[in-house]
Symmetry: C3
Subunit: 345 residues, 3 copies
C-alpha cells in the first residue's frame, strides 16, 4: 500500500506540517521508524525518539509543542490513540479476501449463504446452516448443522461451531476456538462411576463479540450459554455450560468460568482468573489476574484480588503481613519471653 501524507491527514482529519507529498508505505513504532513509515507519539516518554526518527511522518497531538527540530512530516490530530487505530485499519489488508466460495469447501445444499460471503478452502458447512451477508469464513473451519451466523463476521482457520449455535453480527473468532462443545455434566452412581448427562442446549453469541484463539465455549445442558453484545474474550479461555457473560465485559487469556456462573456487564477479568460455578458477579466488577472467585459479588464496581479472592485493598494489606510473617513470628516469640520474665518477677 502506498499513500501520501496529505491523504492520511485528510483521512484522519488532521493538520499537516511538512512535506504533504511524501509517500507512506507502512505504520511503525517510533523507535523503529524507517523511511516510508508513518509512526506516532502518544506516550510522552518516547518524545526523544521524535527528534531522531527516520520515519517519514509522525502523528502527534494537536497541542504538542516540540522542544527541538523534527525531520519528519507531522500530522496533528486531537486524539492520537484513536487515530492510530484508524490508521492501522487503513493499512490492515487481512480483510481483503476474495468473496468466493472455494471449490474445495464442502457446503451443504441446504445451507443458506448470504451475499458477499467468503468460504475458505476445505471448510465444512453442514445442513441448514445460515451465514449472513459479508461474513468471511477462512480455511478448514467447521460450521455444524443448523448453526446461524450473522453479517460481517470473521472466523479464522480451524474454528469449530457445533450444531444449533447462534452467533450475531460483526463477530470475530480466532483460530481453533470451539463454540458449542458439550458441557461437563456427569451423574455419579453408588460405585463412583459417572454417566454422561446429555448436553442438548446451545450457545448464543450476541453482536460485536470477539473471541481469541483456542478458547472453548460449552453448550448449555438445557437452554443456552450466553455471550452478550460487545464481549471480548482472549485466548485459551474456558466458558462452562449455562454461563452468561454480560455486555461489554472483557476477559484476559486463560480465564476459566465454571458452569452456570452469571457474569455482569462491563466487568474486567484478569488473566488466569477462576470463577466458581453457580455464582453471580455484579456489573463492573474488576478481578485481578490469577484470582479465584468462590462466592457471588453483589456490589457493582467491586475490585477483588487473590485466591480465594477478597477486596483488592484488603488483599494488598494482608499480603504485606504475609511477607512480614517470619518477622512477626520472631516478634511474638520475643514478646512471649519478655512476658514470661515479667510474670516471674
Amino acid at each position: 500500500m502506498q499513500i501520501t501524507a496529505r491523504e492520511i491527514a485528510q483521512f484522519l482529519g488532521g493538520e499537516l506540517e511538512g512535506d504533504p507529498d511524501i509517500i507512506l508505505t507502512r505504520p511503525a513504532k517510533i523507535e523503529e521508524g524507517v523511511p516510508g513509515a508513518i509512526t506516532f507519539l502518544s506516550n510522552p516518554k518516547y518524545e526523544e525518539y521524535l527528534y531522531k526518527t527516520k520515519a517519514s511522518a509522525v502523528l502527534v497531538d494537536t497541542k504538542f509543542k516540540p522542544s527541538s527540530k523534527i525531520a519528519a512530516t507531522l500530522i496533528r490530530v486531537p486524539d492520537v490513540y484513536g487515530a492510530i487505530s484508524r490508521l492501522l485499519s487503513a493499512f490492515n489488508g487481512v480483510g481483503d479476501i476474495e468473496r468466493v466460495k472455494d471449490p474445495t469447501a464442502c457446503i451443504s445444499h441446504s445451507a443458506t449463504i448470504g451475499e458477499q460471503v467468503a468460504i475458505g478452502k476445505l471448510t465444512v458447512v453442514e445442513d441448514d446452516a445460515e451465514i449472513g451477508d459479508g461474513t468471511i469464513i477462512y480455511s478448514q473451519v467447521f460450521i455444524g448443522k443448523n448453526v446461524k451466523i450473522g453479517q460481517n463476521a470473521k472466523f479464522f482457520p480451524g474454528v469449530r461451531i457445533m450444531y444449533d449455535c447462534v452467533i450475531g453480527d460483526n463477530c470475530i473468532i480466532h483460530s481453533n476456538t470451539i463454540v458449542g462443545s458439550d458441557g461437563f455434566g456427569f451423574s455419579p452412581d453408588s460405585n463412583g462411576h459417572y454417566s454422561k448427562v446429555p448436553q442438548i442446549g446451545n450457545v448464543l453469541i450476541g453482536n460485536d463479540v470477539e473471541i481469541g484463539a483456542n478458547t472453548v465455549i460449552d453448550r448449555a445442558t438445557l437452554g443456552s450459554t450466553i455471550i452478550e453484545d460487545g464481549v471480548k474474550l482472549d485466548n485459551l479461555i474456558q466458558v462452562g455450560h449455562n454461563v452468561v457473560i454480560g455486555e461489554h465485559t472483557v476477559m484476559a487469556a486463560q480465564v476459566g468460568i465454571a458452569g452456570s456462573a452469571k457474569i455482569g456487564k462491563n466487568c474486567v477479568v484478569g488473566g488466569q482468573v477462576g470463577i466458581n460455578g453457580h455464582i453471580k458477579i455484579a456489573d463492573r466488577t474488576s478481578i485481578g489476574g490469577q484470582s479465584g472467585v468462590m462466592g457471588s459479588i453483589k456490589k457493582p464496581g467491586t475490585n477483588i484480588f487473590g485466591s480465594p479472592a477478597i477486596d483488592y485493598g484488603d488483599f494488598l494489606k494482608s499480603f504485606i503481613g504475609f511477607k512480614k510473617l517470619p518477622e512477626l513470628m520472631k516478634q511474638l516469640q520475643k514478646l512471649e519471653k519478655e512476658v514470661d520474665r515479667l510474670k516471674a518477677e
Copy 2:
C-alpha cells in the same frame, strides 16, 4: 421430535397425572417452560415455578406433594435426576449421523474400519489405523499411523490422534483435542542450550473415557501415558508425558499435570489445579480449584486446597488468619508497647 406424555412416561417407567396425549417436542428448564416443553423439578427451591410454568409436562419425584394447583401434566419418577439424563438422551439427535465414509475423507487402504462406522468430511485416517464398530469420527479429524480406536467411540471435529496411540470403547473426545503430542523433554548442555529427548512412547486410553475440547495428552517418553477406564477430563487440560490417571477420576477445566505424576482412582480435581511431576496422589483425593499440589498425597480420601496445597480445613483456618493479618500486626505492635511500658515500670 414429537412424542406424547404417555410415551415418555412409559419410556421412563413413571406414573402419569393429567393429559396423556399432550404432545411434547423439547425439554426445557422449569423457569423457561413453554407449551410443548417437558421440564422437571429436582431442586426444591424451584418449586414456585411448577405452579406457573407454561410447560406441557413436568417430571417430579414419586413422593412429591404439590402445595397448589398445577396446570401441566405430571410424570412421577423415583429418581428425577436420573430420569432427566435419560430424557435428554432421547431428545438428543447429535448421534444420529449417517454411517458412511465421506468421499472427501482420506482413508489409507491399510486402515481397518469396522461396521457401522461414520467418517466425516476431510478427515484423515493414516496407514494401519484401526477403528472399531459403531465409532463416529466427525469432520476434519486426524487419525495417525497405527492408532487403534475401540467400538462406539465419538470424536468431534479437529481431534488429532497421533501415531501408535490406543483408545478404548465408548470414548468421547471433543473438538481440537490432541492425544499423543510429544512430551516436554529436553536435556540441557553446559551452555544452557537444550536438545530434544525423543518421545517414542504412546498414550493408552481405557473404556468410557470422555475428554473435553482443546485438551492435550502428551505421549510417554518411553512406555505409555495412561488414562484408565471411566476417567472424565474437561476442556483445556494438560496431561504431561508418562502420567497415569486412575479409574473414574474427574478433572475440571484447565488442570495441568506435570510429567510422570500418578493420580489415583476416584479423585475429584477442581479447575486450574496444578500437579507437580513425579508425585503420587492417593485414591479418592479431592483437590480444590486453583490448588498447587507439590508433594505426594499418601492417605486416600484426603481433601486439599491452596497453592501450595495443604489440608482443606487447615487452609481455611489459615486463610482467616491471612485476612486478619493487618489487624494482628496492629495488636502485636500495641502489645510490644505495653510490654515495654511494663518493663520500664
Copy 3:
C-alpha cells in the same frame, strides 16, 4: 527396526559386555524390560531392576560397578542420559515421512517450496508463502499468506501459521498451535464499549524453537512478537502481543504472558505461571509453578515463587508462617490476656 547390540554400541561409542549379536527391537524402561528391548540405568534408585530385568541389553555408565550378576548384555557409555536421547532418536520413526506434496493439499502457485519438503493431506499453503528445504508439514495445517518457514522444520496436524509470520530453521510446532492470531487490543469509549485496535504486526520465531500443542502466540500490534533461538514452550501457553522471549528460555505448560512483557535468556518458567504485561524479566530468572509475576525482575538469576511472586526462600518462610497462623492468633490472644493481667497487678 532390528539392530544388534554390537551395532548400538558402535553407534553410541560404548563398550560392550556380553552377547554382541543379540537382536534389539525397541527401547523400554528398565522396570518394563522384555526380551528384545534395550533399556538403561541412569538413576541409581532403579539399580535393583538391573539384576532381574528381562531386557536383552542395558546402557550403564562407564564406571558402573554391578553388585550382583546381570543376565543382559551391558553397553557402557560415559553419559547415559545423552546416550538415551541418541538411542531414542535412532528408534524414532516419526520423521520417516515420504517427501511428497500430497495431491489433496491446496498449495498456491505463488508459494515457494524447497527441496525434500513434505506437505500432508488437506494442508493449505497460501500465496507467497515460502517453505525451506527439508521441512515437513503434516496434514490439515494452515500456512497463511506471505509466511516464511526455514529449513528442516516440522509442523504437526492442525497447526495454523497466520499471514506474514516468520519461523526459523529446525523448529518443531505441535498440533493445533497457532502462531500469529490477533493480539488482545481494544480501546474503550466513554460508554464502556470497546473497539478493536487492528493488529498488523507479525511473529518472528528464531531457529531451534519447539512449541507444544494448543499453544497460542499472538502477533504484535505493530512490529513483532519475538521468540528467540532455542526457546522451548510447552502446551497450552499464551504469549501476548509484542512479547519477547529471550534465547534458550523454557516454559512449562499453561503459562500466560501478557502483552509487551520482555522475558530474558535462559529463564526457567514453571507451569501455570502468569506474567504481567509491560514488565521485564532478567536473564536466568527461575519462576516456580503457578506464580504470578507482577513487576519487573532486575537481577539475573533470581528465583521467585508465589502469587504475587516474591523471593523463593522468603515465600517458603512466609508460607510456614501462613500454616502457623491459627496457632499464632491463639498465642497472641493468650499474650494479650497475660499482659492485661500484668497491667492490672
